[in-house]
Point group: C2
Chain length 360, copies 2
DNA sequence: ATGTACCTTGGGAGCGCTCCCAGTTGTGAT
DNA sequence: ATCACAACTGGGAGCGCTCCCAAGGTACAT
């Protein structure tokens, strides 16, 4: 309220200089106090803090950014071909996690939707003009030029999900294979004999991982992998429907199906109903994503849950760790930039959790 | 690529000064060219533009912000009690619209989730430290102190939706009453005799507007309003369910219901099914929001669509118009800050659209 | 020629902060 | 007392840009 009384409400905001004058110290000292440097005596610190409180001083971020070359903000970039993705809980989970983690570091989140090439260029420019300290890239296609563009401008970036097994950029991903293993293992444990899978499009790395997990689980249980039991879907309901019909026609002994997404499982469920097969009586069903439809299906669908909020948080952690790793030109790059064991690695694989419901 | 050859990839970025030197002009001239000032001769402009291209010059926003006192960024603020809201298409619509409109003005969007008081203070500080030129406030509760806090710091803000009929801040809202009128009018036109409504909580202004629309439509059709036909829900499925049961018990002649939200309509539909009433045969149903559930209900639900993307866009337009309106201290505030007829007003009511499906 | 008016242009003066160096003060050992 | 050393502190020198003013040009009228 003192601040208001001082007429700051609409008018000029106090500067470091003014705080320094009021506290009877130098500019440098105030800066140190504001930034929590330990090289300030207790007495002086209090003096300065009082002055700050009295004036209602708030640092000017633009000035800080200019002087220090850092902005305390990161961009979350969403290529917006997929409006779909955008309205999904997945997106809001990432957003929530990232936002929470950033808040803890007193940093801000910039949201950038990229609808077309023009907007991509605009963002690249933006990034290059150092308005952000780093970027979180979400829902990226394998052929998106954005990562390279950012690298070219020296902007640290973290991917959500890998583009391939040889992902060269820092990333945070779900352990899709492990999730699939858990799902299939669960079906086998339930005594199912013929377990098939409906996969995603093979050009998507995430789909391959889940298919691999399926295979691994079978092998781990001492069974052979029958490749004809892998039927390709495309992550749509319609695709799941088609795939399941094919499976039903080809495999009379079928009694369990692992679907690489809940949406495909919904399609599969429909095909089963049409064929008069009961779930889980005749055929057990497991999905992936633990999305809203999983809970609302009839029967409710067993599914593999990804720690989405946590992915958002972790992306931020990785991004921030990148900053420390990066050898600042001013410092002679201590030793050999070896990843220290304690800190978060530049890539993280997060665990999944099988949510068992009555479809299996 | 010249830029890359010049070693800008990781290193120092070129400055205005360097561009000026290369072009053989002064700093001011380059600034004028970059900002599209007309006070530059054609010849000079070309010279400068060549130099900019050659060096791959990109203005440093922080410096610009510091010198000019403007950031070219606005914040979208979401109080996050309502994770619900967050995952909804409504949110992504606003986001998409705002983002698109901002992109056209070469501005950026800052996303701020406010989970608790600490984060609110943090944002207030942030806003006060002039990191953004304005704020878009979304899903605000009537008692939220944020608007006042922002006003205190002199930060322009636009609300999404009004808090009351006497909203004092600039806002963009849907014409809820008109939407309700259309819905109820449609039911009356369909020959329904006893039209009831399930309302939202009366402490929410939006709920009152929709209820008012219901009354107006009846009166417009020359009917009397029977207040016992307004049953209060709470915008949840469960609430819709309860309300419909009450209606069924109390009004044997009931043959149409306007629900103030799709979610409540879903609950109502459930109650109707339990009661063995057919839709639209026995009872016609209309919702509000045209959300995903409307399309997926059985039968698909007639609903009132709001132009959500457009609301996002419009919020930005209003915010930007605020900037021009605001008398800058340097200028003697031309005449008397009268809203000029042509420009967008500081408050906008957007039209709705009735999407007729088979539930009515 | 001379004057007037209008363009265009260069560059000084900051914007508010961080970085860093040199100066000051304080402490403990000698 | 004296010295070495550490802990604090003040303030100059920018960071890269915009704003603005005065200077220099140009064109046209007198």
């Amino acid at each position: 309220m003192t601040a208001v009384r001082n007429g700051l409400a609409g008018g000029r905001r106090p500067t470091l200089e003014q705080v320094a004058r009021l506290a009877g110290v130098g500019r440098g000292t105030v800066s140190r106090v504001v930034n929590g440097s330990p090289r300030v005596s207790e007495r002086t610190r209090e003096l300065v803090e009082d002055a700050i409180a009295e004036l209602g001083y708030i640092p000017n971020r633009a000035a800080r950014a200019l002087a220090a070359g850092t902005t305390d903000a990161v961009a979350l970039v969403v290529p917006e071909q997929e409006t779909r993705f955008f309205a999904e809980p997945y997106f809001s989970g990432i957003l929530r996690g990232a936002s929470a983690e950033l808040a803890e570091h007193d940093m801000q989140l910039f949201l950038t939707l990229i609808r077309n090439e023009r907007e991509r260029d605009r963002f690249t420019q933006y990034a290059a003009s150092h308005r952000v300290d780093g970027a979180l890239l979400v829902s990226l296609h394998a052929d998106d030029p954005l990562p390279d563009l950012l690298a070219e401008h020296g902007l640290p970036a973290v991917l959500n999900g890998r583009r391939s097994s040889a992902e060269s950029m820092p990333y945070v991903d779900t352990d899709n294979a492990a999730g699939a293993r858990a799902a299939v293992g669960h079906l086998l444990d339930g005594g199912r004999s013929t377990v098939a899978t409906i996969t995603g499009p093979p050009d998507m790395y995430v789909a391959r991982c889940r298919a691999d997990g399926y295979r691994e689980a079978l092998r781990a249980a001492g069974r052979e992998v029958d490749e004809s039991l892998l039927v390709q879907g495309d992550f749509t309901e319609e695709g799941g429907h088609r795939a399941m019909r094919r499976l039903l026609a080809a495999e009379p002994s079928l009694d369990a199906v692992f679907c690489a997404s809940d949406v495909m499982a919904a399609g599969a469920r429909l095909a089963l109903r049409e064929a008069g097969r009961s779930v889980p009586g005749d055929i057990a069903l497991v999905g992936f994503d633990d999305s809203a439809i999983a809970r609302h299906m009839d029967p409710p669908l067993t599914s593999v849950r990804q720690p989405i909020d946590e992915m958002g948080r972790e992306m931020v952690r990785v991004l921030l760790s990148l900053r420390e790793r990066e050898p600042t030109e001013t410092r002679p790059a201590r030793a050999a930039v070896q990843p220290e064991p304690g800190e978060p690695q530049p890539a993280r694989l997060l665990p999944t959790e099988l949510v068992v419901r009555s479809s299996s």
